[in-house]
């Protein structure tokens, strides 16, 4: 089943941005251990709304870890608005694809980023951006 691409395996073996950001501006968490996947996403966002840093912690399969890593890479330097638009298919594409059964694991990364951004808006009191 696990016919991962070389890029997925590389990302799994060398994940970027693992860890926590102690003074994060937004933290998002999705999934549950019962489902076999949890992702916690930490974002550091500059005053002008740029994602300066992103870190993750993931409990999950190879696809979950690889997409967490890749997604954090992809949003760094983006504006919050652009980061919020990241879709799982963009992440999957960057990884040269995922086995069909694994697509559902890849949606978590984008969801976790969305949740972290939501948290960021909430903290800022920016209610208009809350979903």
């Amino acid at each position: 089943m696990m016919e991962y691409t070389d890029k997925v395996m590389h990302e799994f073996q060398n994940p970027k941005n693992v860890g926590e950001i102690p003074d994060a501006d937004g933290i998002g968490e999705v999934g549950s251990p019962a489902c076999g996947d949890i992702m916690r996403m930490y974002l550091k966002i500059s005053d002008d709304g740029i994602v300066e840093d992103a870190k993750f912690k993931t409990f999950g399969c190879g696809a979950a870890i690889a997409t967490s890593s890749k997604a954090t890479e992809m949003i760094k330097g983006r504006t919050v608005e652009e980061a919020a638009k990241l879709t799982n298919s963009e992440v999957v594409e960057e990884l040269d694809g995922l086995p069909t059964e694994k697509i559902h694991c890849s949606v978590l990364a984008a969801q976790a980023i969305g949740a972290a951004i939501e948290d960021y808006h909430k903290r800022k009191g920016d209610h208009s951006k809350q979903q």
Partner: protein, 396 residues
Amino acid sequence: MKRIYLDNAATTPVDERVLKEMLPYFCEKFGNPSAVYTEAHEAKFAIEAARLQVAKAINADPKDVYFTSGGSESDNWALKGVAFKNRAKGNHIITTAIEHHAILHTCEFLEKEGFDITYLPVDDQGLISLDDLKAAIRDDTILVSVMFANNEIGTIEPIEAIANVVKEKGIIFHSDAVQALGNIPIDVKKLNVDMMSFSSHKIYGPKGVGALYIRKGVPIEPLIHGGAQERRRRASTENVAGIVGFGKAAEIASEELEDNMAHLKALRDALIKGVLGKIPQVRLNGHPVKRLPGNANFCFDYIEGESILLSLDLIGVAGSSGSACTSGSLDPSHVLLAIGLPAGVAHGSLRLTIGRHTTMDEIHYVVDNLVEIIERLRKMSPIDAQSPIDDAVYHH
């Protein structure tokens, strides 16, 4: 990198001695065993010799051994064959919550066909209780099926005691012994079973062949209807080469059983001791003593099984997991849930099954590397002893 194969419960390589016996039956001795001419006889003799080899390995009358295409077919046949044939007597079947899917999904089908199935629970080590069994038996119970040894956690059920309870009531008793063959002694007469399933590729024989032991007199409908092969009970031109291979594999397995068990046990115990001793927050699943000699099954808290498997694969080690992500389903192993593990923990399971070719050096290599792998993955995990997360479902 030399690979280390620790998934022997899933499948085993064909033994060179087995392949050697099979080879003449592809291009040369290819005759249809049911025919009249000379080519047919050598094929037929080869099949009967293999039947004798399998029969000897389980102390059966050779006439009671029927060749199939594998363990799954044997399981399907045993259950559906008895169910359809004995419907007039009753429609109740008893099995356990930890059977292989070949049994459980067959039961689900039979439920749709109007049969009533009781799934016996197991304790936290995977054993069923005889009292539960006795309480479940009804007047309309036509069949009880309890596996000999579990494929995931390795627990060995008390088949002889179970058979005696079942047979006393005049009910047909089947046991899936796919994992038992070649790993623990099997004597169908002493065990008092009516039917038993076997699979060749678990004992260094070829894939795509197996057997169902059916004690003389057990009323059973064929699963594969058609020609008169296998004493009119299992149609289809016989897989001669496969059957010959299975026969030889069974012969070797029973001849080398004691040595093999000692070898497996020594390595398994070293593996379990190493893992439990060197890695924190880990548990051994299954029974500590009543377990298959080659089976080790662990749960590592806070991490997921597939990521362990991938990490092991990268250092040359093949293992398996009850994680949903490796089962093709969304749920973790039904066996781990049945022994009471929370789903979150069950996702973090690792099964390492030792085989004939495994060495002590390999075990040491695996233990040492596993320490690092688990540590590394735990560092990535959002859960730990300080911030456990319970089984609530979050945003998705």
